[in-house]
Symmetry: C2
Subunit: 163 residues, 2 copies
């Protein structure tokens, strides 16, 4: 793990500083993802693969934030924003194992980025505001990953305009 | 402004604490949005309205992060994640001016949330990695809003499955 976090592959370049030292703004963790994935080697690499596993997942919202679940309806799609806490934050150009060539971090969905925020579109299958428990169709992050936000999906703003 | 930031409307409730006091993780600002909107009353309330104005916008990426723009192609859709720095962070249930009833923060796309991260799907019209200048089709945030991340949009993960 230490080696993986500090070494780079051919074609990769680092930022001039490690973004984990920045303090431009601060976050509150609002809960945690509870997923079937406890090991990086098992964890789906993206939401398409996660859905194909047919493995549901849960979200636990911490008590102070449960009132904010009011009117969130099961059946709809939601965006989850997570904090990918195990990701390094110092790569400018990177070469994922699955990629043939290296690309800039902002051209990739890699979890390795200056601000390791994950964006996941999921279907909300069940929600219990009293206990803060949500059931979702799938997720592509490790069990225990902190949650930052829940945003309802809207076709009017979240779908690309037709070309 | 002071009144607006501390008062609540009928039906609204606050969190048991102000999330702006949290320090669970820290962010790096990677650049700024340059938009036509310098006043809250003019600023479009969502991306649908922003697109309808036919007003383009720009993104300025700070020098240390420009290398991460490599291979990001003009013409494609991208998600921008912004830090909505003027938003309060203490509301659990809120009633936007345009809404008939109050709803939990996580059932709304309001900028007021524990972590005021904005999610904006835009079309990238032009990109110059050397100067860090991007041109986008539209944006619904004030000029000067800090940028946290750029993620390419992919149909395979970012589009809801058909019902």
């Amino acid at each position: 793990m230490t080696l993986e976090k500090t070494s780079i592959r051919p074609g990769e370049t680092t930022l001039p500083f490690d973004a984990s030292t920045a303090d431009d703004a601060r976050l509150a963790f609002i809960g945690r993802i509870r997923s079937p994935w406890t090991d990086r080697t098992d964890c789906p690499k993206n939401m398409r693969v996660a859905r194909e596993t047919n493995q549901k997942a849960r979200v636990e919202i911490d008590a102070p934030f449960r009132a904010a679940l009011q009117n969130l309806e099961a059946g709809r799609h939601i965006h989850l924003l997570t904090w990918l806490h195990q990701s390094r934050r110092d790569l400018a150009v990177q070469k994922p194992r699955s990629a043939e060539t290296a690309s800039g971090t902002f051209a990739l969905r890699s979890p390795v980025r200056p601000n390791p925020i994950g964006l996941h579109l999921v279907r909300l299958l069940d929600v219990d505001p009293a206990s803060g428990q949500l059931v979702i169709d799938a997720i592509d992050v490790l069990d225990g990953t902190p949650l930052l936000d829940i945003k309802p999906y809207f076709d009017t703003v979240d779908r690309p305009s037709e070309d």
